[in-house]
Structures are given as C-alpha cells and as structure tokens.
C-alpha cells in the first residue's frame, strides 16, 4: 500500500482529472496507461498530468483497476493463480451500470489501457448480444432517427440477419 516503509522510495506521479481532482499513483500503475508511459518516457510528467477527458469518478476506478493488475502481476504468485485472481477481479469490476461501463470504455480508449479496453468492449458486446434492437435502444438511449421507410429498407437489405 504505502511506500513510506520501504527503503527505496517509489516514484509517484500526479494525475489530474477533468474536474480538478489530483490522484497520486505509483509508477507501476501509471505506466499501464500507455498515454502516461509516453509522457514519463519523454520526461513531460511534471508537475502533474492533466487528463481532460476523464472525470475523477472514472479515474478513481481506472486507477483501482490498474493498481490491482499491477499488484497481482508482481505479487510473486504463479501465473495460473494470478490469472484466476484477475479474472475474478475483472468480473466484479464490470459489475457497474451501463453509463459507467461506457465511460470506462471511453477512458480506456483515451488513456490507451489495452486490457481494460478489451474488457469493457467485450462486456458491452455481451450486453448488446442478448437483447433485441428495441431493448438495446432503450438501454443505451439510442434514438431511432430512421424514417419508417428507411428502417424497412435496412431490414430488407439484411433480412438474413433478422429472424
């Protein structure tokens, strides 16, 4: 948890969210955000890194995710146990409402965190898959802006895709 007890001081970086909240993260966590890794390598990470597209609420979740992944991977446990642990964590982590899921996906894309991006996209796909078009529209507030004629034409063109 805290690095103060350790003899060698761990490098920390400050991340500033869209709404001005500053988060302190260790290097092992920060480098998982590909965007930030580049900034660190280019020595442009001081005094803090402003992330204009991510709110503090989402950034806190992203950091929680990266922290858990960094700790599990460097924890010295065997690869299979670490894999199982991450799988369980990921499943629980995805237990959020659609709006947060979408924001996490967007943040993972913006911050370039490959594993979180894959995870959120896969979860969103599974939400779409099990639902009818009307249910998907309702769930994600997708407004149907087709005219009746247009929608009919699309359904006709891809008739094989609709039961």
């Amino acid at each position: 948890m805290s690095s103060s007890t350790e003899l060698t001081e761990k490098k920390v970086f400050l991340l500033k969210s869209l709404d001005g909240v500053i988060f302190e993260v260790e290097e092992s966590v920060a480098v998982q955000l590909e965007v930030i890794r580049e900034l660190i390598e280019g020595d442009c990470a001081r005094p803090f890194i402003s992330l204009y597209n991510v709110t503090s609420e989402i950034l806190a979740l992203v950091i929680e995710y990266c922290k858990h992944h960094a700790e599990t991977c460097s924890g010295g446990t065997s690869a299979t146990i670490a894999d199982e642990d991450l799988k369980t964590f990921d499943n629980e982590f995805m237990n959020v409402d659609e709006n947060i899921l979408l924001e996490l996906c967007s943040a993972a894309d913006y911050l370039d965190i490959k594993s979180l991006f894959e995870l959120t996209c896969r979860t969103l796909a599974s939400l779409i898959k099990d639902r009818t078009i009307i249910e998907v529209r309702k769930m994600f507030n997708v407004e149907n802006d087709f005219s009746v004629v247009e929608e009919k034409a699309v359904r006709k063109e891809f008739a094989w895709a609709f039961k």
Binding site: N95, A159, W160
Partner: protein
C-alpha cells in the same frame, strides 16, 4: 487517493444521453467485433449512426448457419452480396481474417468472388469450410499467390488442385482438412512455395494419390497428421531440422525421417489399427516404426500409444523410457 464508490450516481441527464453512439467508430467496431456477424449486422438498424458500421469490422466472418432458418436462393444471394459489400466498400485497405462457412449449396461463383475480393484486400488469414465438392472447383488460384497471407485453413472434401505457380512468402500456418491430396509433384510445389511455413496440419486427408510425401520444410516447427486416410503405402519423408512438435494420429505409414529431429520438444504418436479393414498392423511395419521412434529419442516429452497391447509387447524399443 479518493475512494470512489463502485457504482456512481446517475446525473439527471444520463437518462437521455446516448453515450454508446458517441463512442468513436473504431471503438464501436471493436465492440461489434466480439459479436457474431449476424448480431453485428442487426445493429445497423439501431440508428443511422450504426447503419454502415459493419463495413469497418476488422474481420469478415460469413457463416451460413446463421441463415439456416431461411434457406432459399434469395437469402443466400443477399448473404453473398453483404459479404462482398463488407469487403469491397470498407475504408481500411486490409482485412485481418476472412472466414467462410458454407454447409449447404452456396453459389460457387459467389465463393470465388468473395475469396478473390478478400485476397485483393490483402487478407492475412483465410479460413474456409465448404460443403462437399464446392471448394475444389471454385478455389481461385489467387489463394496460392498471396503475399500477405499468414494463415490458410481449408476444409474442402475434394481433390486439392495446386496451380503451377505457388508463392506464399509470408504463410506460416497451413491447415488442410478433408482433401484428396494430389500427386507428389503438386505437393512438393505447394511446400516449396511456402518458404516460411512453421505449422502444417493435415487432417482427415486422403493420401491414395501420393506415393512419396516430401516434407522438406526447413522452418517447420509444428507438424500434425490426424486420421490420414489410405496412407499405408505412402512414404513420408520428413526433413524438418527445426521441428519442435510432432503429432501423428492414425494408421501406420512408411516413415522416413531423414535426420534426427534435434529441436523436437514434444511428440505425440498414436497408431491405430483396423483389423476388419485388413489394414497392416503396426507389427508389419515393425522395423520402420522402431527406426522412426528411435529418431525421436531426443524429445523431451513423448506420448506413444499403439492400439494393441499385444503388438506393444512384441516391439522392442531399445530405450528405457516409459510411455
């Protein structure tokens, strides 16, 4: 660090904002790529934003089992037209994978057109499984001269026609299933055209036209034979100095290992006998099998299964390994 709750509270606006459609095209396509093509295409009716997104999917996966409920010519034609549209109209010049599964009578020219289009779009992986006969007549020769192809998997249930010119400089994985393999020369030509082949799998192929199967493939790392048919009279010449994994499951053949396989890490050899079919037993090939197994001795992990205990005890392998 602030501790955020797992579930955030919705702002009043959340109920009306379409955050999903606000995601960039690339992200939406990535989400759609986790869905079967049928479900991905069905999203085109969500809104105008979604209408043409399927055109940007990185992989083209056409599986006619999705249309099974509506088997008629018109639906199949629409299906083929969709595939062609997806390949030709896309904005990106590359396709990662082209998968085609046809379990019933698909228009043969349509298959040819789709495959050619995918190759023209620099496809990296082709995986085709079609009903009996259709592929042999329609597999375009362009499949054998692609400079971008890395993976080629074909299941065809017919004789494999290898064109005069084979040039697959980047091909690393070749899987042939349910083919009647052509003459020795054709097979040699095929392998010579795949200079960088690392993984070769021949599954349920029929060898009755092949006298000598010359597997002189310098970079091959993985070789597997599964249920080779009529292989008993075929001489298998294996000259693969870099082979790491060998998997053989089926009747005994006339093995000829040119050199010891020094790089071999794992081998799984499983001979089956079929007395009712009057196929030769392992014991008829005793010398040959002994020699073959001997040359595998450097292997780190060996799984050996001979489908008859009697035969097993008759064979005297000059080594102390248990199997």
């Amino acid at each position: 660090m602030s501790n955020a709750p797992k579930r955030a509270h919705k702002t009043p606006d959340d109920d009306f904002v379409d955050r999903l459609s606000d995601l960039p095209d690339g992200v939406l396509c990535h989400i759609l790529s986790f869905l079967d093509t049928k479900y991905a295409v069905a999203t085109s009716v969500l809104s105008t934003r979604w209408k043409n997104l399927f055109l940007f999917l990185p992989n083209v996966v056409l599986d006619d089992s999705l249309t099974r409920k509506r088997r008629n010519k018109k639906v199949l034609l629409e299906f083929a037209r969709f595939g062609l549209k997806q390949i030709m109209l896309r904005d990106v010049p590359h396709i990662n994978q082209f998968h085609l599964r046809c379990s019933f009578n698909f228009e043969e020219p349509a298959i040819q057109m789709l495959v050619c289009a995918a190759i023209w779009r620099n496809v990296k992986e082709i995986d085709i499984c079609v009903r009996k006969g259709a592929l042999a007549r329609t597999l375009p020769p362009e499949v054998f001269t692609s400079s971008t192809l890395v993976v080629l998997k074909l299941r065809g249930y017919m004789e494999l026609n290898v064109p005069e010119l084979v040039s697959l400089p980047n091909l690393k994985v070749l899987m042939l299933g349910f083919f009647i393999l052509p003459s020795d020369d054709s097979m040699r030509r095929l392998f010579r055209g795949c200079k960088h082949l690392e993984d070769l799998s021949l599954s349920n192929c029929n060898f009755w036209l092949v006298e000598v199967l010359d597997l002189s493939i310098p970079l091959l790392k993985k070789l597997s034979f599964n249920y080779p048919c009529s292989i008993v009279e075929t001489k298998l010449v294996i000259d693969t100095p870099n082979l790491e994994f060998l998997d053989y499951h089926g009747y005994v053949a006339k093995f000829n290992l040119v050199k010891k396989l020094k790089s071999l890490v794992g081998a799984k050899i499983s001979f089956v006998t079929a007395p009712k079919l009057k196929l030769p037993f392992v014991e008829d090939h005793r010398e040959n099998v002994s020699e073959f197994i001997n040359k595998l001795l450097a292997v780190k992990s060996l799984y050996l299964n001979i489908d008859s205990l009697e035969v097993k005890t008759k064979l005297h392998y000059p080594f102390g390994k248990s199997f």
